[in-house]
C-alpha cells in the first residue's frame, strides 16, 4: 500500500504539524510556568458565631517545592486626602476594637508544598464572650518562597555575586460576624471637577453600619443629552471612612455640555463573593454637575 504523502494546499504538512505540536507543547509549558505561583482561595473568609471554623486552600502549581508560612495581621483599606487607597499591615500592638487578631488561629501555620501540591488551612475563631454585635477583622497572610532556595555561589576568580530572594505575601481578609448586622453607607460629600481631559470625581464615604460595606461603585459621565461619555466600575469595601477618587476620561465623540456624573453605590452585583456571605445594605444614587 502506498503511503499517503498528501499535503493540503495552503495548510501544514504532517512534519509541519509535528512542529506546531512541539511548539504548542513548549508554549503550554512556558505559560504554565509563567502563570505559576502560590495561589490562595477564597479571597475573603467569613466566620460567625454559628460557624466558627473556616478554611482556605493554598496551591502550588509550580514544579518547585514552596515554603509557605501562614500568620495573622491587621489592616483595613484606608484612603489618603487624594482618594488613593492603601492597606498597611500591623502585626502587633493592635488596639483597634474591631480586631480579631488575638483570637483567630490557623492550622497548620507552616507548610512545605510539594510541586503541584495543595494544602487546606483550617481557621478557628475563639472570640471573647463580651463581643458587641458587628464584624471583627484580621488579615490572613500567606508568605511563600522557593522551598529549595539555593545559596548563591561566588563567581570564578573570587568575584562578588548577588542573590535576591523574591518573597511573596498574599493578605486575605477574614471577617467574624456576630449578632444583628447592618450594612449602611453615607455619602458625606461628593464633587466632580474637570482636569485637562479627565473628570475627577471625589467621594467622601462614611460607614454607618456595624459591618464593612462591601459593594460596587459605578460612575458614569454623561453629556447634556444623557449620552454616556465614559464610565468606571470598581469593587468597594468601606470599613470606616473612605475617600475615593475616580477619574473618568473624555472619550472622543459628539458630546454636548453641560456634563454630569451619575454615581451609584450598591451592595448588589458582587460575583466574587457568595450571596450567603454578603450583607446587603442601602443603595446610594447621586448626580453631580460638572462645573
Amino acid at each position: 500500500m502506498m503511503k499517503s504523502n498528501t499535503s493540503f494546499p495552503g495548510r501544514l504538512t504532517p512534519i509541519g504539524l509535528r512542529g506546531v505540536l512541539c511548539a504548542l507543547a513548549l508554549l503550554l509549558f512556558l505559560v504554565l510556568d509563567l502563570s505559576a505561583g502560590v495561589l490562595v482561595a477564597p479571597t475573603v473568609v467569613i466566620l460567625s458565631d454559628k460557624e466558627r471554623t473556616g478554611r482556605i486552600t493554598i496551591q502550588n502549581p509550580t514544579a518547585k517545592p514552596r515554603e509557605v508560612d501562614i500568620y495573622f495581621s491587621f489592616g483595613l483599606p484606608e484612603s489618603d486626602s487624594l482618594g488613593d487607597v492603601r492597606i498597611s499591615l500591623q502585626d502587633s500592638n493592635v488596639t483597634d476594637t474591631r480586631s480579631a487578631l488575638d483570637w483567630i488561629k490557623a492550622f497548620p501555620r507552616k507548610v512545605l508544598l510539594a510541586p503541584n501540591g495543595s494544602q487546606v488551612v483550617r481557621l478557628v475563631a475563639n472570640p471573647p464572650d463580651s463581643l458587641q454585635p458587628g464584624e471583627y477583622w484580621a488579615r490572613i497572610v500567606i508568605r511563600s518562597q522557593d522551598g529549595a532556595a539555593a545559596l548563591p555561589l561566588a563567581g570564578e576568580n573570587n568575584q562578588i555575586t548577588t542573590n535576591l530572594n523574591m518573597i511573596m505575601q498574599t493578605a486575605i481578609m477574614l471577617k467574624y460576624r456576630t449578632g444583628e448586622l447592618t450594612a449602611k453607607l453615607e455619602l458625606a460629600d461628593a464633587s466632580a471637577l474637570q482636569r485637562d481631559s479627565l473628570i475627577e470625581v471625589m467621594l467622601d464615604m462614611a460607614n454607618r453600619g456595624n459591618v464593612s460595606y462591601v459593594g460596587i461603585l459605578t460612575c458614569r459621565l454623561l453629556d447634556a443629552g444623557k449620552k454616556e461619555i465614559s464610565h468606571k466600575k470598581i469593587d468597594l469595601a468601606v470599613y470606616r471612612d473612605m475617600k475615593r477618587r475616580i477619574n473618568l476620561p473624555f472619550l472622543p465623540g459628539d458630546f454636548k455640555p453641560p456634563y454630569q456624573v451619575e454615581v451609584l453605590i450598591t451592595t448588589e452585583g458582587r460575583h466574587d463573593i457568595a450571596d450567603k456571605d454578603m450583607i446587603f445594605g442601602n443603595i446610594i444614587n447621586r448626580t453631580l454637575a460638572v462645573p
Binding site: S4, F8, R11, P14, L17, L21, L24, L28, V31, L34, S35, A36, G37, V38, L39, V40, A41, P42, T43, T57, P77, S79, L82, D84, V85, R86, I87, L89, V141, R143, S144, L151, P152, L153, A154, G155, N158, Q159, I160, T161, T162, N163, L164, N165, M166, I167, M168, T170, A171, I172, M173, V214, K233, I234, D235, L236, A237, H271, D272, I273
Partner: protein
C-alpha cells in the same frame, strides 16, 4: 487522503482545545457558580502572586557600583493574577544591605524613587513597558494606591536597583530578601 484529512482535523481539534485551555487558565481565578443538571460546583475567587524573575545584578566588582533599571531585562518581576479589574494594594519591603552567608560582610543596595514600574496590562516584559501600560518609573517605597489588575486579571511589578560595593568588599555571594505583599482592597 480522507484518513489523512481526518487525522489532520483531529490534530487541529487537539490544538484548538489546548489553545483554549491556555487562554482560559488565567480566568480560573474568577469566581463563578457553575450548574449543570443536578451537579453544582463553586469556583472560588483566588489571588496568586509569583516571583517570575529575581532582580539580577550578575557579577559585581569591588568599588564599582552596578545598576539595573526597572526597564532592563534583568529587572525583578512579580506577577499578580486574580479577579479581572480588581483593585489591589501593593507593598514592597526592600533591603538596605545584602549579606554574605557567613555574615562576615555586607554590601549596600539602594532603590531610587524611580526604580519600580507597575504594569497594569499584565504584559510581563519590563523592556516593552510604556507609560500607558500603567505606572512607569515610580517609587518602590510608595506604590500606587489605585492599581488594578487588567481585564484579564493580571498585573506586574518591575523592580530595578543599585548595589554599591566598597573598594575592599569581600568576594563572595551576597543575598537579601525582597518582599511583596498583595491584597485586594475591595473585599
Amino acid at each position: 487522503m480522507r484518513k489523512s484529512q481526518g487525522t489532520y482535523r483531529a490534530l487541529m481539534m487537539v490544538i484548538a482545545v489546548a489553545v483554549v485551555t491556555v487562554m482560559v487558565l488565567p480566568s480560573a481565578a474568577r469566581s463563578q457558580d457553575v450548574a449543570v443538571g443536578s451537579a453544582t460546583a463553586t469556583v472560588l475567587a483566588a489571588l496568586s502572586v509569583t516571583a517570575t524573575q529575581a532582580l539580577a545584578f550578575g557579577d559585581v566588582f569591588q568599588g564599582i557600583p552596578k545598576s539595573v533599571a526597572n526597564t532592563d531585562a534583568a529587572a525583578g518581576i512579580f506577577t499578580m493574577s486574580g479577579t479581572a479589574n480588581a483593585g489591589i494594594s501593593l507593598y514592597l519591603e526592600l533591603p538596605d544591605y545584602l549579606v554574605l552567608a557567613d555574615g562576615s560582610d555586607r554590601m549596600v543596595i539602594a532603590f531610587s524613587t524611580t526604580d519600580a514600574s507597575v504594569d497594569t496590562t499584565g504584559g510581563g516584559d519590563p523592556t516593552g513597558m510604556v507609560g500607558g501600560d500603567g505606572y512607569l518609573n515610580i517609587n518602590p517605597f510608595s506604590l500606587p494606591g489605585t492599581a488594578n489588575l487588567s481585564n484579564l486579571g493580571a498585573a506586574n511589578i518591575y523592580l530595578g536597583g543599585r548595589v554599591i560595593p566598597t573598594v575592599d568588599q569581600k568576594a563572595g555571594a551576597y543575598s537579601g530578601d525582597i518582599v511583596l505583599t498583595v491584597s485586594y482592597n475591595g473585599t
